[in-house]
């Protein structure tokens, strides 16, 4: 099962994060009101509107898909990881600040983005063990 799904490869991590980013990006674009009505996102939506964040997420997800497609192209893989980790870190910080300053929010987003960040860092650290010429 592990072999079929390649769950022990960084590409599996990248694919999962890309799917998460597409889901977030598409819903930010199609359902902006839901995000506006959720207190946890207030700080983030105060910095940029939903559609801007949507484009950022979809762009980052597409970068990740490109990295899976051209996995042997190391600069692309490194850039896709760096962008994803930067975005996840920024959002994680925003959720932490919001959680600490607003009693109407939950810890759920902090935990979720911590896991996304963990998966991205883990896949970044796994690159060298799995990158092979033409792989």
């Amino acid at each position: 099962m592990l072999k079929v799904l390649r769950l022990n490869e960084p590409r599996a991590h990248v694919a999962v994060i890309a799917a998460v980013f597409y889901a977030i990006g598409i819903t930010l674009w199609l359902q902006p009101a839901r995000y506006a009505d959720t207190p946890s996102y207030a700080n983030l939506l105060g910095i940029l509107p939903q559609h801007a964040w949507s484009l950022i997420y979809v762009g980052t997800a597409s970068l990740k898909v490109s990295a899976i497609w051209r996995y042997s192209l190391r600069p692309l893989v490194v850039v896709s990881h760096a962008v994803a980790i930067a975005l996840e870190s920024a959002w994680l910080v925003a959720f932490i600040i919001r959680y600490l300053t607003d009693s109407g929010t939950t810890i759920v987003n902090v935990v979720s983005w911590s896991v996304y960040l963990y998966l991205s860092v883990r896949s970044a650290l796994m690159i060298d063990q799995h990158t092979k010429p033409g792989g």
């Binding site: 760096a82 962008v83 930067a86 925003a94 600040i97």
Partner: protein, 115 residues
């Protein structure tokens, strides 16, 4: 400064930090991995080891050749000694046969028989 501004400032700092640190860490890891690979597949070391193995095998071959050549020399010398002994024995027997032949001829002459 409200929380949105704080979030923006901290978020940008964190994102910038991640954007610099992640490529740097990955670059250093790649360098180390390449260095490890170079040390594992060092062609100079590989060539030196093969040279050493070749020299060792050549030395063993030379020793074996010398040992067998000496055995052959010993066997040839032994056969030479045996041949000399046998030739001497043949010569002695031949002399004995000649002496017996002469004695027989004398005996026949004394007895008046024909040889």
């Amino acid at each position: 400064m409200d929380t949105v501004q704080i979030t923006a400032v901290v978020g940008v700092i964190v994102a910038a930090f991640a954007g610099i640190v992640v490529p740097y860490v990955l670059y250093r890891r790649k360098q180390r991995a390449d260095a490890d690979l170079t040390s594992v597949v060092s062609w100079d070391k590989m060539a030196a080891r093969l040279d050493s193995e070749r020299d060792s095998l050549q030395k063993r071959l030379d020793e074996s050749e010398d040992r067998h050549r000496k055995q052959i020399d010993d066997m040839e010398a032994d056969w030479g000694r045996r041949e000399t002994t046998l030739r001497r024995q043949i010569a002695d027997l031949q002399a004995e046969v000649d002496a017996l032949g002469r004695q027989l001829a004398q005996a026949l002459r004394r007895g008046g028989g024909a040889v």
